[in-house]
Amino acid sequence: MTEPLIAPLELPFQLFDVQDTETLLQRQRFSEHSRETLDAVLDTAEKIATEHFATHNHKADQQEPTFDGQSVSMIPEVKAAFDAYCEAGFLAGRADFDAGGMQLPETIMTACSGYFMAANPSTAGYPFLTVAAANVIQTFASETLQQRFVPPMLTGRFTGTMALTEPHAGSSLADIRTRAVPAGDGTYRVKGSKLYISAGEHELSDNIVHLVLAKLPDAPSGVKGISLFVVPKFRLDAQGEPAERNDVALAGLIHKLGYRGTTSTALSFGDNDDCHGYLVGEPHQGLRYMFQMMNEARLGVGFGAAMIGYRGYRLSLAYAKDRLQGRPTGAGPDTPAVPIIEHGDVKRMLLAQKAYTEGAMALCFYAARLVDDVHSLPDSEEREQTRELLDLLTPVVKAWPSEFGVKANDLAIQVLGGAGYTREYPVEQCWRDNRLNPIHEGTNGIQALDLLGRKLWQANGAGLQVLQQRLQQDLAQMKGEVCQNLSAQVAPYLQQFAELMTTLQKDLRTSALPVHLTNAQCFMNIFSSLVVSWMWLRQAHGAERRLAQGADSEQHADFYQGKLQAAAYYIEWELPLVSRDFALLQQTNTTCHNMKTDWF
């Protein structure tokens, strides 16, 4: 018997006690489903993740893919896992029934991805990127491109990538140099270099479909001049079968800190001036298309970070229960050693990991439900409100779990002590894998700027209004003793937040704006800590309700008590840390802003 990837009670609690996922089944889009089918889908995800993904997580890290100048080779377990994932139908899980999909809610697909991310994030990268790329083509490309590329991507015959970054342009995509020139027959010839392209080359599928950002010859400058192209590794013949090799070449593999099982590539497009590309949608709209996808990808990054963080937590928890070391204060040297979990500081480190990762999970499920609501609510005004809230929360959903997932993994290493620092134990790999997440899909610095500089004020602050309404509705329902006590502790911070918003609204029209943007991380800290406190109150509410019903076994009661304790930890130990950030923003602190390059 192996330790389960996710504690058996966790997902049912998050999905059906904290979230009311079953209400989705009343929506037309999901009406074919029942609780039974949702449970069966989750079961299949858990089995495949446990039996095919978790089993080679360490090996794929130790034996990273290699390139001999001709082709990329990797351990065979990756292909077996990828095939099992595809055969079970997960690639098409979200897609319409008509497209051969299962029309499953995002909430459930997110939960499924949790098993794969906890088991083996680098192997999971291949199918996840494919789904995201197929989604862009399905949403924005012409019917012809859809018909030729999407069906094989939804069965795993073709895989996908996102080719955005170039050697000189990462966060600043406006500066990309890849060019696409019309060939006169409706297709384009693409030329340029791309860097850090995950899954850019491998032998897992019959074809690789790159989504490439490039500029047309007449393109306006800046981000408004970027177009999006489908560039396959093999061009398709009339029957849609991969035929002639396209002019895309692997320049080399990148060697990373973590996520080593996913190839990261440098790609050359059009070295021989014969790289065929097909325009997606309209010219110059590429970045908009890509960002729509990236917003959903950001939810994936946040949730992945939460799950790698959670994996480290579970591993360090198991170790702490097993490792005998030291004695309680006052016990003599001849008394037996106790498991380290009995030491206070170890409990603190485990509780912090629990608070970070389960809090992040709750946040991501909340956002996944918003995605479902945006796609399935019958009322258009409600859909619009939901969209505003989702937009506001997206930078938080990406940045907070990725920052605190890594912190959790750092604590997991600390719990294991010397063993944690060795490669014989798995927590250092969790840390290395997770360290990517604050960086990609928009660095956390950019997320803070996006939040304070843009999302907060979008549509006259509609997102924040919806958030406040929903928070107040939730608070009004929380009658349990623990929730009452904890929400009373959150209240003063909400008051301070309202005062801060008044200050910011005034300041952002003045010369103080650049200073506040320099300090955007302070705002991210405050805002995300309040949102996560709310997520912990929602979990505490779910736990208190279950405990009040009293119908559960002792094991279940322990689980819910643990939730209450972690909620208390977050609100009593973590939330107060934002006092510093409130002070810095209220005084428009200029220390970082006024620092000069030459003074370093």
């Binding site: 039974e36 069966a40 079961d43 299949t44 079970a88 139908g89």
Partner: protein, 249 residues
């Protein structure tokens, strides 16, 4: 050829079981349940026989409370064609289950009944053998290979000394061992298809079988905690300990 596969709802093999404080049973409150692993192997074997064209229909039957329908649906998602739920809230012994299955065999007239060799909760290893005796069918237990031929089935059995192959005339009862096959996953499309497959429900009481239990559970206890091992310095010490402490020589 029709194949009947009885499946049992049992606690998921990944769950760490706890005994109730009053030692009356294992605590199953809200515990994760699944198809008994040996029964899942039986479903897989039947579905493979259908895919090979040997079988024409796979019928899955489960006996117990309403929740058993979840396991029947799982079996349907793995490829069985239809389900039969015999509903009862009584806790049945192997013999009552075998007697109910005997009635199902009379109604359905399958050529082959494939069962798990035992369930991971009660570990009795009885139902298949009892069913064979009650129906007068030949039995091939602990199968690690099943070959259906014209009017017969060859069953390779895992026995203490190795492997034994027996040839049974059809209709016959086969019980599965772990190495018979590796069950597939329920794919997402098949989970959806399973929703539309027929599932009949009948009351156990309607079968005219005496459902009173003949076995009384006196006490359920968790296994004793394993004691840590010790290293011995040499063979002499080992022999000494085997004599005086373990008292095995």
């Amino acid at each position: 050829m029709k194949i009947l596969v009885p499946v049992k709802r049992a606690i998921d093999y990944n769950v760490k079981v706890r005994v109730k404080p009053d030692n009356s049973a294992v605590d199953l409150t809200n515990a994760k349940m699944a198809i008994n692993p040996f029964c899942e192997i039986a479903v897989e074997e039947a579905v493979r026989l259908k895919e090979k064209g040997t079988a024409s229909e796979v019928v899955v039957v489960s006996i117990g409370e309403k929740a058993c329908q979840e396991q029947i649906r799982t079996a349907l998602a793995l490829g069985a064609d239809r389900g039969l739920h015999i509903e009862t809230s009584d806790s049945l012994d192997s013999l009552q289950v075998a007697k109910l299955l005997q009635k199902v065999v009379e109604e359905e007239a399958p050529q082959l009944v494939i069962l798990g060799k035992q369930s991971i909760d009660s570990d009795n290893n009885q139902t298949g053998q009892m069913l064979a005796a009650l129906t007068g069918m030949p039995q091939g237990t602990f199968a690690s290979e099943v070959q259906v031929e014209e009017g017969s089935v060859a069953v390779t059995r895992e026995i203490d000394g190795g492997l034994q192959t027996v040839k049974l005339s059809l209709p016959a009862v086969v019980t599965t061992d772990l190495r018979l096959n590796e069950p597939r996953y329920a794919s997402l499309p098949n989970i959806m298809k399973a929703k539309r497959k027929p599932l009949d429900v009948k009351a156990a009481a309607d079968y005219g079988v005496d459902l009173t239990s003949k076995v009384k559970t006196l006490k359920v206890e968790a296994p004793a905690q394993r004691q840590g091992g010790v290293k011995v310095a040499d063979v002499a010490e080992l022999v000494e300990k085997l004599k005086t402490e373990a008292k095995v020589i």
